[in-house]
């Protein structure tokens, strides 16, 4: 999937995260993660974000995460929502979302 426009999902409330996606403009996938629990869970958050993006075949785009202590399932959902919005996708391939 290709991110073709700017999109966001989520909130900055506790236990949530805000995900912003936009076209990278250089054909690369760049991920920026900021989190209140970066020291303890930074690697885990990055792993979940990368896995979610891989399943959606996102190879091009800038993805910026502002995490407020979200569970993995919330991270997956918010990343998926932002990417699907950024790709202008109407149809869901559920096999890529689990």
């Amino acid at each position: 999937m290709k991110v073709v426009k700017e999109a966001i999902s989520g909130t900055l409330e506790s236990s949530d995260l805000l995900v912003k996606v936009e076209p990278s403009g250089k054909g690369t996938r760049d991920i920026v993660i900021r989190s209140e629990v970066m020291k303890q869970f930074g690697k885990q958050i990055r792993r979940v974000v990368i896995d979610t993006l891989d399943k959606l075949s996102v190879s091009d785009g800038l993805i910026v995460i502002e995490d407020k202590g979200a569970l993995d399932c919330v991270i997956r959902a918010r990343v998926q929502a932002a990417v699907l919005r950024g790709c202008g996708s109407q149809e869901l391939d559920w096999g890529r979302l689990s």
Binding site: S9, G10, S15, C73, V74, R76, A77, L92, W94, S98
Partner: protein
Amino acid sequence: MKLRRSMLFVPGDNAAMLSTSFVYKPDSIMFDLEDAVAAREKDSARLMVYQALQHPAYRDIETVVRINGVDSEFWQKDLEAAIRGGVDIVRLPKTETAHDIQELETHVERIEKACGRPIGETKLMAAIESASGVVNAVSIATASPRMVAIAMAGFDYLVDMHTRRSTGWEPELFYARAAVLHAARAAKIDAFDVVYGNVNDDEGFLREVNIAKQLGFNGKSLIHPKQIDLLHKAYAPTEEEVSHAKRVLEAAEEAHRKGLGVVSLDGKMVDPPVIHEAEMALQLAEAA
């Protein structure tokens, strides 16, 4: 028998509640994709619910998803997320006729086939929110073998009836409660009473719980975790009732050992309905 005293509403796009609601231990958790979610957030909420349903913390609790009504543009996508996520029960709001349930069932079966879930595994419940729904309650409750419960939703119903909530014994809801409850009992399914919206009014909440319990409702839909404990305690039998229930079961067991059909206890016959009531009382006491 599955206890369904408390069904806690959890807004489908609320990350904090999705992440914690299981700790309150309601009998069922209902992720809401309808009124609690703004139209522009439906897509994100759908994914949140889909992911939350697969979280290990929700494996041991009955999960329900309230989808949008069949008159909306959202309900079929909601259904995909709920069934593919592994939900136990789909709750249909604003159910007006048996046809609504049959249309829902057609799509539930289609999705079950598509995602490999056993056909018939996903159960259904209908929320009655209008005069038409109340009048059609029996045909709605019996519309599908997947039906496990029916719920009264008060706010929209009272608007439809040109009235509003009062206090006391709530005469404005009496007919609807009685009709929905009779439909549920005739169909051998469970019945949920309306939500009580003022979460700071414990006294008013308990007054309404006692009305629902006395009428025979299994429980209530709840909008705040603090109402769970109040509800469970109100539904718990007294020590005297527990003691009596134990004696009933002991008497029944003794009759069974002696090969007797029936036995009496304190001058009253102990027959299957009395035994069933005693078993229910002990189950409620254990769960309280």
